[in-house]
Amino acid sequence: MNTQDKDRTIILEVQRGVGGGPSRTQEYELPEGAAASLLDGLRWVREHLDDTLAVRYSCINANACKECMMILDGKVVYACVARMQPGARHQVAPLPNKARVRDLISEIAPVKERFDQEENADD
């Protein structure tokens, strides 16, 4: 990778962890052209660097499912429409006001649509 390419590398600093457990930050480098949107970038990471990174989405690029909400550089975004800047360093984290399930996945389902293990056991 030459200097010019290096200047256009995108760095994602992703906050990771499971449930209420400890958090850590993991850094991923995206080469130029790997990602137009944040979701492109996270999908690229999973396919090329680390498939253990948890992120949820359904519709990929249409902003229809509304599942890919997360925090990018301190602001709530839909990852599928948040644009990446070549050469930038971005901080990515799960939603602060929802329970974290894993990494960038938060509990976003309406309460009535959640399967509650305890209450629902009938035998």
């Binding site: 499971v18 449930g19 137009a36 949107s37 999908r43 999973r46 396919e47 090329h48 498939d51 253990t52 990174l53 948890a54 992120v55 949820r56 989405y57 359904s58 519709c59 990929i60 690029n61 249409a62 902003n63 229809a64 499912c65 509304k66 599942e67 839909y78 599928c80 429409v81 644009r83 399930v101 894993r102 990494d103 996945i105 509990e107 976003i108 389902a109 309406p110 009535k112 649509e113 959640r114 399967f115 293990q117 629902n120 056991a121 009938d122 035998d123």
Partner: protein
Amino acid sequence: MTAEEIVNRETDVLIIGAGGAGMSAALAASQAGSRVIMTDRSLIGRGGATIMAQMTVAVALGEQTPDDWRHHYADTLKAGRGLCSEPLARLLCENGVDAIRLLDSWGVGWARSDGHLTQAQAPGHDRPRCVYVDYLNTGPAVAKTLRTQVAHDDNIERYGDLLVLELLVEDGRVCGAVALHLTTGQPVVIRAGAVIVATGGLTRLYRRNSASLNMGGDGYALALRAGARLIDMEFVQFFPIGHLAPRLVGFDPIMWDPFRYKLGGRLLNGLGEEFVEKYGHAGEEKGYTITRDAATYAILKEVEAGRGSPAGGAYLSFQHVPEETLRKAFGPIIDKLAANGIDLTKSPIEVAPIAHYHMGGIRVEVDMSTDVPGLYAAGEAVGGANGANRLSGNAITEAVSFGLQAGRSASAYAADAQALQAPRALELAGPTLARLEPAPQGGEAPNVAALIARLQALMQDCVGPFRNEDGLKQALDQLQVLKAELGDALPGDGGPQDPVRLDALDLHNMLLVAEAVTRSALARRESRGAHQRDDFPGMDDAWTLNQTLALRDGQWRLETEPVRRLDTPVDIPAGGTEYEGQA
């Protein structure tokens, strides 16, 4: 995990999948007096394909011009190139009328003008027949309307983030399912009088696809393993003008179809020439009339001949459309395009075929029952109604009308079904539960997300719109390689939302379903609709047959059967499409 710890639930009708078909089925089953549990691997009414629909819903309402469901039926059969199941096509077109009126009564907001619903003309229809919700909002409006109805129905429990892994089969009858609760990583056993598969299609098998991540064909895999036959698996619809370039953020790639409905537009090859006429179709100046299979063929043949656009597709141009006309038709969308650096008055965009819909699926009778008692299917998960090629606008009509039918049928079956006892359900679930137990991880685990990408590339290249024997055989070999690399044991830690485990579960199903598509495509030695063989060009009348596929003791069983006809043919009124395929 001990038996006492497994969450164990019971209901009359279990519905897998909460898109348009699943939600419609839930409402009908509840209406018929059943208790319903509806699950979705994602959120309720937000994943799947329904919410992705951009515009057209075809149904003979006769609001724009006089119409009759029998004209819609004739067009559907013609588009299906002789392979539609007549009873299923009839159900779609005839019951579709009430289904779409029902959505209207629930306030879906179909576009209206001059005191009637607006119906757009779409390719393959003999008259304006497609209702829609502006702007590009048909799918979200349908999904929201059904979500609201379902939420207000006390008989329906709905649970997101539940991934169904296997159906429970007792004495040849489906009587429940084992699911994985993704939020906790814990298994759940659900006993049910009847089960409806409404999981949609398989477009995720392809690298370029227009639907959602959830459409990996898992419902087909569930049905196969439970003993049901699939039908028409070789017919994957490629949507001809999926967006290709420049990169657009925040748009579904099938967005250009509505532009074509309202504004026409011109397809041009890399040299800037119109080309669809060369392939025997009406020129673009006569309007947007070319069907999906035909347009896909023409675009890819131009690319093959070295006349593709720079990114490897065709140009779609609206440069001849005045800006004020564009704004009137698509107002806010024009601004969103500008934010992506696209000005349609100045330059064309590039489009190429993209996996969009599956004509094939679970083989059902007209009441939506499968070969296996207790198992029903609805929506895109069903095969047969659309034959070798689906008409624009038939998918939502199919989802709702088939969903309502499946809900009624499953409810009636469940009312008399013998209840499965909880201990027996746990026994039946045993092998699946054992599979979820932590397995010793030997060696370096493969990146499963990368394996999925390899599968998608393989299917795109070898089992896409153009096929031949060499490519299909190579695909069968490579599917075995991928299967071996994935291995039997489930990787991952099995905790909450474990992405590695989820990908592996999905890939197991995707590989099975990919093999079903490939084997069916290899056997059909002709070209018809969405199935185009380089080595067998042209339609062969001897192949006016459907292929069915089953798994028996782990072995594939591929058979042919005559196309299903109605006992009494539909009397199609004069003045519409003549359908000659009718016996």
